[in-house]
Subunit: 213 residues, 2 copies
């Protein structure tokens, strides 16, 4: 057929990624996917086994490299003489997200939105398979943030990391709470450069704010 038309598996993954983000897992039918991917209905079950397995495949295709990129950035940062700073740590997460968001070949910002959706939906995939698979990720960041912000108690630091990663994920996913209420939403809310420009100072301020007594 055509030269640069991706193969069946890739076409299914690409279309699924987009549709899962747009409509969610449950509301996306295999017939929608196979129709838009221009493949036969049975192709999904043939190549992936089930709709659940397809979802996992869509997910792991992007998450693995993203985590790897963060860990690689952490390696570089920890190679420096002086210990990691909060800003340096935040950027080890921001940069891979930004890179992913700007690369259409890797799904652009789609995957971060999918990740965000899946998180909120509390999928069993995240609770079971992935949680222990990427436990190194959280472990490394926990240790590094303890070094970068030693003046914070363990409880406070855990909470701030929780809040910081939450707001970062949300920002990259383009989740705009205020858009429900506002007619004029932020026009640049999904421009990756703009995200970083405003997100990083916000997160850093929250992370490094002096503890209240």
């Amino acid at each position: 057929m055509e030269a640069n038309r991706p193969d069946t598996v890739t076409r299914i993954l690409d279309v699924s990624e987009r549709l899962f983000v747009e409509h969610g897992f449950e509301a996306t039918s295999l017939r929608m996917i196979t129709q838009q991917a221009e493949v036969n209905l049975a192709a999904v079950n043939y190549h992936f086994g089930s709709k659940d397995a397809l979802f996992e495949a869509v997910f792991t295709r992007r998450l693995g490299p993203l985590i790897e990129a963060c860990l690689a950035e952490l390696d570089v940062l920890e190679g420096n003489k002086e210990g990691p700073t909060a800003e340096g740590l935040v950027m080890t997460f921001i940069r891979p997200c930004l890179s992913l968001s700007k690369d259409p070949a890797r799904g652009g910002a789609l995957f971060v939105r999918l990740l965000s959706r899946t998180l909120v939906e509390n999928h069993r995939l995240l609770r079971e398979s992935l949680s222990q698979q990427y436990s190194e990720f959280a472990q490394r960041y926990s240790v590094a943030f303890r070094q970068a912000l030693p003046e914070l108690s363990l409880e406070t630091l855990s909470w701030r990391m929780h809040l910081a990663f939450g707001v970062m994920f949300n920002a990259f996913a383009g989740n705009d709470v205020l858009k429900i209420f506002m007619r004029s939403q932020i026009v640049s809310a999904r421009d990756p450069e703009m995200i970083v420009k405003h997100l990083v100072p916000f997160v850093l301020a929250g992370l490094t704010s002096p503890v209240q007594e």
Copy 2:
């Protein structure tokens, strides 16, 4: 039958609220709802018309009062002589959320989670019906934050409000990004008092952080 057993409509709403949060709109069937609510299957369509209308009813039952409570807090704050502070403004939103979260009779923290889920899922209900219905909410906060933080440019302020409301919603919804990766999640992540203790300083720091050049 029993004395304090709520009527059919209320039982349906209560069960729906919980199930929509747990499984999402699409994955929650009317048969699940009517079974747990101990009402007939046809009762949903009789009282609400459709599953979509039921969802809207579940939603508006809580959102209206929550918005009203925020606006009432804003009224009080704006009645003071000196203009509103960022902290005062944040608290006008935090207090009603906290109050809702602590009140089981009003669904406790369930509704905030439903709101968060619905936001991320980008339901048409939020895009269409509710957006203009509660536009006063965003309008009032926009004006008030402009007064409280006059040194920020309009762009920066919009972004910070966007990020601040995002992290506040997320915190109250108990969305824990790191829980995918960590075995030991924050145990207190859904204790309302703990949320406020750590959330408010974080958000305030982000909102009032000096602008970078």
